[in-house]
């Protein structure tokens, strides 16, 4: 592998940004899911006890939100849906069966990745907004109780959506060999770039 030609996919600052969001997401998820279902309550012990989990959870969330917004701002220019994306999605059945020849040439991200980012953006904005409404002891008491009841339901549902996105994202990264390297060392092989993101590869070549 190491003798293969490499191409830069993520700069060090982008990798830092991504992993900062990922760590905050995992901490927020582990501390929060215990409050959603008693079967997961034991996870709150990871944070030094359930009261500590309650205290820390919103701070994990707010920090995640801030860094996620920065992340989205950085990748947004690659997030415009193109005609090739809609062609690509027609081959989704083949892709899932690892039949990946003769796919349309797409950019840096495929349609799934683009919509994953968008879904997470909506979910995380909802999580922040509803989270502030139920944040004890700082903010919750100033909001009407009916609004807080709505917020707690929205918070649980948005967290569910975000967790589903997380599972899909982690699995897709693992399943698509050579991708994790892009987010750990910053590079992918030229063959990887041509195979998965031909339009992006051509753009990179023409730039340099």
């Amino acid at each position: 592998m190491s003798q293969n030609k490499m191409i830069q996919r993520y700069k060090a600052s982008e990798r830092f940004n991504h992993w900062f969001v990922a760590i905050c997401f995992i901490l927020a998820a582990l501390s929060g899911i215990g409050f959603f279902h008693p079967g997961f309550f034991w996870l709150t012990n990871l944070f030094g006890g359930s009261t500590w989990a309650r205290i820390l959870h919103p701070f994990f969330g707010v920090i995640m939100f801030l860094f996620f917004i920065v992340w989205v701002a950085r990748v947004w220019k690659y997030n415009h849906v193109t005609a090739a994306d809609w062609q690509w999605v027609k081959h989704l059945g083949d892709i899932l069966r690892s039949r990946t020849n003769n796919l349309p040439e797409i950019g840096k991200y495929n349609l799934g990745q683009k919509y994953l980012t968008r879904t997470l953006l909506v979910a995380i904005i909802l999580l922040l907004a509803s989270g502030i409404l139920i944040w004890q002891p700082w903010f919750a008491s100033v909001f009407p109780i009916e609004l807080r009841r709505m917020a707690v339901l929205i918070h649980a549902f948005s967290a569910f959506v975000a967790l589903m996105c997380f599972i899909v994202h982690v699995y897709a990264a693992y399943w698509t060999r050579g991708s994790i390297r892009a987010m750990t060392q910053g590079t992918v092989t030229v063959a990887w770039a041509k195979h998965h993101c031909m339009a992006w590869y051509k753009e990179m070549v023409s730039k340099n």
Binding site: M1, N4, K5, G34, F35, F36, H37, P38, G39, F41, T44, S50, T51, A53, R54, I55, I95, L96, R97, S98, T100, I134, Q136, P137, A140, S141, I145, E146, R148, R149, M150, V152, L153, A156, F157, F160, L163, M164, I167, V168, Y171, Y174, W175, T176, R177, G178, T189, V190, A191, W192, K194, H195, H196
Partner: protein, 291 residues
């Protein structure tokens, strides 16, 4: 269990059964006869005295309610309402506000911390603050706006129905101190029977709509009111006519937990089985070598 003498019926955030072997004891009820209340607030003082609570001295807000609201230091408050049900005839309705000890407690349903909220088999719903994590979910679960979070320790407090006194055969402190007998305490059956007599009397005295407040929307309560105007409970400082756990809380703490857990589990299993049946999405060696 070891340190208390009341049997447990339900515990917060616990999906398995509570100990059931001992025969359930009689359910208790505190009956508050509003037509007998003179608004002396002795019950508030008794509550403070027994529970070692001292609220800060507040400000007069133009009504007799003092303190103006429930708090972590005031687990019961007299609510004074001036109403004219029949025009020209002023009535002063004084309701002793506090936890209703619902049979289907919204606070317990909403609470995520195991054992922080306990429902005893005698009907008392008690907060065990040492297990409270301070999330405030019980406040959202309560249909009566009762639990109050302390600014001192971020834990939530409310009337215990003097579970410590009841456990050793004493009546609650407010009952013991009430000078007019407006608050009485006993078995649910006896209290309902007593209330029926009082309602009969009230009707004879012209209160045709007198009745017992024991709302079925929360499975009945273990604090009941005799109301002169039972058809209009909202006259009594917004006592809800048909209280129940809000639909959002029911959805949140009910079906959504199951559906979302199944969803997450299915997604994880889906990934595993996709991988073991389809294998990884690889760039072939031929493609790599071409470069």
């Amino acid at each position: 269990m070891a340190l208390q003498s009341l049997d447990i019926k339900a515990r917060s955030a616990t999906s398995t059964l509570s100990p059931l072997v001992r025969t359930a004891v009689t359910e208790v009820v505190k009956l508050i006869d509003i037509s007998k209340c003179i608004g002396c607030k002795a019950c508030q003082v008794a509550c403070m005295e027994w529970n070692d609570l001292r609220d800060s001295v507040g400000k007069n807000i133009g009504v007799y309610d003092n303190p103006a609201d429930l708090s972590d230091q005031s687990w019961t408050v007299m609510r004074f309402s001036e109403v004219e049900v029949n025009s020209g005839r002023l009535e002063w309705l004084i309701r002793k506000d506090g936890c209703m000890h619902c049979s289907e407690p919204g606070c317990l349903k909403a609470c995520p911390a195991p054992d922080a909220i306990i429902q005893y088999s005698n009907g008392i719903v008690d907060f065990h603050e040492e297990h409270c994590i301070g999330c405030g979910y019980c406040i959202m679960g309560c249909p009566f706006n009762i639990p109050r979070m302390s600014k001192k320790d971020s834990k939530v407090y409310k009337c215990t129905l003097c579970s410590d006194r009841v456990a050793v055969g004493l009546e609650p402190a407010c009952v013991k101190t009430c000078p007019t007998g407006a608050i009485i305490f006993g078995s649910k059956e006896d209290m309902i029977h007593h209330a029926e007599d009082r309602i009969f009397d009230l009707k004879e005295r012209g209160y045709q709509r007198a009745g017992l407040y024991n709302p079925p929307g929360v499975g009945g309560t273990h604090v009941m009111y005799v109301l002169q105007h039972a058809d209009q409970p909202e006259l009594y400082h917004e006592l809800p006519k048909d209280p129940g756990i809000s639909p959002e809380v029911i959805l949140w703490k009910g079906i959504s937990k199951t559906v979302m857990n199944i969803g997450l589990g299915t997604a994880i299993l889906g990934g595993i089985f996709h991988y073991v049946t389809q294998g990884p999405n690889e760039v072939s060696e031929a493609e790599e070598e071409k470069q």
